[in-house]
Symmetry: C2
Subunit: 373 residues, 2 copies
């Protein structure tokens, strides 16, 4: 890396200076649209906001992080902004956050865009798509690659402002009661798998089942389902799946780095004083950063525990199985983009960015994992 310890660095500065002074200004403007606005803040007014979430109360990392965010906002605002966090079902049903924030019943909701796929077919592209980008790549697309603008456009008709606000990192492929050697082994397999992943599984001949968190363990134990995906080693271990399924597969082809979102009622957000707007935005970025760190640390710790369970085998999916699932994914995405104009636009932008970052990752992170990591 570089430093600028030597005073004779004029040629570089000269070279860099012209275009980069402009870039710097643009950077600031893009990230702080309110920067030039007159600030006229009433420091005596306290805002009481409600944050609903799609997670069970105190859900590890994710729900926990939401409470941390509320605390950061309170601190940063000198107590002028109090956010009360509700677990899914505590104030409204877990998956009604989109409507509740849209109509102003609550001010914000933490969840994931793909939960709104029924309303907005293009929403999953802002969380994760099977065989799509991982957490690092998704973050780069949304923050620095134009993803944020498309996301805002998608949500604008609903008076919603989205922020990137977390990522589970790579997920695991799930727990199975038999070995998966070929794509044929998925035929007829009853697997708990929601979203696009479930559609892909169906395309490959499996039977995706919708089973809520609290019922998976029992359903797996009793053979009501043959397999389930959940999140990663930390959450999976806490669910006890290692007690009722023998084979734990990787990678989580269906969710290779899901982005979590904070949606805020846009009108209410814009009515906030500029300082509180920036505080919320910055807290979302911080939670995004913290969550990734925490997931990786905890997943490492709990994978170790799972590897010590003698009854469990941790296995990679065979290439043939992944190739079959990838073909099924292409087919599902082709249908989706053929049926919905916005999905087609978003997927095109997503694909263009992905191609560009992939060539960098191929000689960067990928090479690191192959040769160094």
């Amino acid at each position: 890396m570089k430093d600028s310890s030597n005073t004779n660095r004029r040629s570089f500065i000269k070279k860099a200076g012209t275009s980069l002074a402009a870039a710097s200004t643009l950077g600031v403007a893009a990230c702080s649209p309110e920067a030039k606005k007159d600030v006229n803040i009433n420091f005596n007014k306290t805002y009481h906001w409600k944050m609903t979430t799609t997670w069970p109360p105190n859900f590890p990392v994710v729900g926990e992080g939401c409470k941390m965010l509320a605390e950061w906002v309170k601190q940063m605002s000198g107590g002028r902004m109090e956010i009360t966090v509700y677990g899914g079902g505590e104030l409204i049903p877990a998956l009604e956050g989109f409507d509740a924030v849209s109509n102003g019943a609550v001010e914000m909701n933490h969840g994931a865009a793909y939960y709104w796929a029924g309303k907005l077919a293009a929403a999953p592209f802002f969380t994760t798509v099977p065989f799509g980008m991982n957490a690092q790549q998704m973050g780069s697309w949304i923050i620095s690659g134009g993803g944020q603008q498309l996301w805002e456009e998608l949500y604008a008709p609903f008076d919603l402002q989205p922020f990137i606000c977390g990522n589970t990192g790579m997920q695991m492929g799930g727990w199975f009661n038999k070995k998966i050697n070929t794509i044929e082994d998925l035929k007829g397999l009853k697997m708990r798998m929601p979203g696009l992943g479930g559609k892909v599984l169906a395309q490959a001949g499996g039977t995706p089942m919708l089973v809520s968190g609290g019922e998976i363990y029992t359903n797996l134990e009793r053979g009501v389902i043959d397999a389930t995906e959940w999140i990663g080693p930390y959450h999976d271990y806490k669910m006890g799946f290692h007690q009722v399924a023998k084979y734990y597969y990787s990678p989580g082809w269906h969710e290779p780095g899901p982005v979590l979102e904070m949606i805020v009622n846009k009108s209410k957000f814009q009515e906030l004083p500029a300082d509180l707007q920036e505080i919320i935005k910055t807290a979302c970025y911080r939670l995004n950063r913290w969550m990734m760190a925490e997931f990786d640390a905890k997943n490492g710790e709990y994978l170790h525990k799972i590897l010590q369970v003698p009854e469990v085998e941790v296995l990679p999916f065979p290439d043939e199985v992944l190739m079959g699932l990838k073909q099924a994914t292409d087919s599902v995405l082709a249908d989706l983009t053929a049926q919905d104009t916005m999905s087609a636009r978003v997927y095109e932008a997503y694909g263009k960015f992905r191609k560009q970052i992939k060539s960098w990752m191929d000689i960067g992170e990928k090479l690191f994992y192959e040769q160094v990591g």
Copy 2:
């Protein structure tokens, strides 16, 4: 992934609830040590702080990001905190930030811990070590794996509070005027390479040279040096190295994801009202997140430009070369940890965390890059 749409999720909540309510409290406490403090803020007082940096003024992404951070802090504080950002050499020489913040001449400095290796042998572990952890792993270690606590302990005698505040991501291995086929090809090679990487190069028979940013291009053109590392495709392209060197190697074995730091004078930080402390901390996390996204996006874009230069070959280092450099690294690190107790302690903690996260990455991110990405 999961949702909690179904109301019958009690068994999971029951299971998760006990330990996690505790974890949640710990999480908040760890990240917001000031959370319980009485807030008694004088909203009329404005703080004017100085931030020096080790980067040339307006340095892309990094210097640019420092100015964005100052703007975020200004916004979040409602104009109560004004930070003036200085490029390296503008107020003090670039590499005197550590002393200047320590003695209170300036309040904060943005740079990288390994610049202070001369004072603190253990400092490089908080930036990057050759063949060490990448950006994602370093972030997890510092934020969630105990790295932050060791870093604070290392800096405490100097009245410095460190924050993780950026990462360049994977670097490139550098520009060479000849092909590197075997470890023998490094013998006698004059290469611009500072820090531990330079020591490793020397161990492998090369000649590390210290050349400041502004002189590298000319030195490479005139054959004063045979090779140079810098950062990655974006910054390297802007330096014009593709005009004066033919071979561009990957990966950046010497710097696989350097953490950038913000150091703040601890006494002055603690004198700030609690809201401004939390604002600075949160802004550092946001910059950390933004910088990684921006580096990846820009590196993707500029690698594409470099690949279109017909005279340049982009090549991976042969395995044999990397193995030789890895051996040299082991030797350099063994010397370092034998000579310095704190280095030994930090490297042990680093190694322990790395082992744990590596087993997770092996079946997570690594498998993603091999089979999906």
